[in-house]
Symmetry: C2
Subunit: 161 residues, 2 copies
DNA sequence: TTCGATGCAAATAGTTTGCATTCTA
DNA sequence: TAGAATGCAAACTATTTGCATCGAA
């Protein structure tokens, strides 16, 4: 998988967004370091989901001295700020994405293919869970697992369920 | 449905169920060892979800020489047979439970409390996912995260979502 | 010039694997 | 007695933490 390619689909004017996040960081008493600036730039430059390893590679391409542990710490901070979210798409590492792009994840047990589903799809279930259990669903954090169309068609063996 | 077919109706005398599983193991060319017998007994003796550590402790209470790695290997085997399933209820270790007791899990982001929801609740969503994406949902494997009733009421701070 | 942030190394948690040995069938 | 399964140690993956140092405000 490509290490977040050159400069993918930008939904927003990144420059403004990046500065806004850094400003928010400063406003909270934090400091704007190279590691932080580059990480935020990388996050806004590349749409989609990225593992810490991918993010680290992209950050280190611009600032080689930045350590993974710093990336972890800053991702935590950015998540606290509500800028990003992380999800667990399977058994591997977590993936991070901009909170603005929040959605649920459908991951295939067989081929690992990940698909995104809009929040609206979960409105009915969410309402029902609230009614029956008083539980407010947040469908973003963990993936919904199952079997994707093509794997169902090719009738791949393995688990039945 | 589980390969165990023949005799899988649980909520039955556990002794019979244990023997049935061991027999199935044998039928597959496997061997019935102390480690396996005790693990299967432990699984049938205790309803609910258990981490590998818990299962290991229970097994080792009866057969101290059994090693965790053996437990892992046998859990994998039992899952392949359809006797058990594992789920990821949060960031910690996976939990294992009898496949007959399969259901979805609602886990609270704030307090970690886990609740079970019957499969029927997901029928509507499942149908919709199939219609729109050709995706067959399996709601068991990962937990659905959110905020539970009491945490919503006490208005605990933290993530908004 | 003060602390917040960093780099690094080491610790941790959970799980998997290689291999010589043991024991079921 | 063949080869499936085990115990143990070590590897592995993902993540976290302690601490001396560095640098933004």
């Amino acid at each position: 998988l490509p290490i977040l390619g050159s400069m993918a689909v930008l939904a927003e004017p990144p420059d403004g967004a990046v500065e806004a996040v850094l400003e928010e960081l400063r406003a909270r008493g934090g400091r704007v370091t190279t590691a932080r600036r580059v990480l935020v730039e990388v996050l806004f430059d590349s749409a989609g989901h990225h593992t810490v390893d991918e993010l680290a590679a992209a950050v280190q391409a611009r600032a080689p001295e930045v350590h993974v542990s710093t990336i972890y710490r800053n991702l935590e901070e950015l998540e606290r700020l509500g800028v990003i979210e992380h999800s667990h798409l399977g058994h591997g590492p977590a993936t991070y994405h901009l909170a603005a792009a929040a959605h649920a994840h459908l991951v295939c047990n067989a081929c690992g293919h990940a698909e995104e589903a809009p929040d609206e799809m979960f409105a009915g279930l969410g309402r029902e869970l609230m009614r029956r259990y008083g539980f407010r669903l947040d469908a973003h954090h963990f993936a919904l697992l199952g079997r994707c169309r093509s794997c169902l068609q090719s009738g791949s063996p393995g688990d039945e369920a």
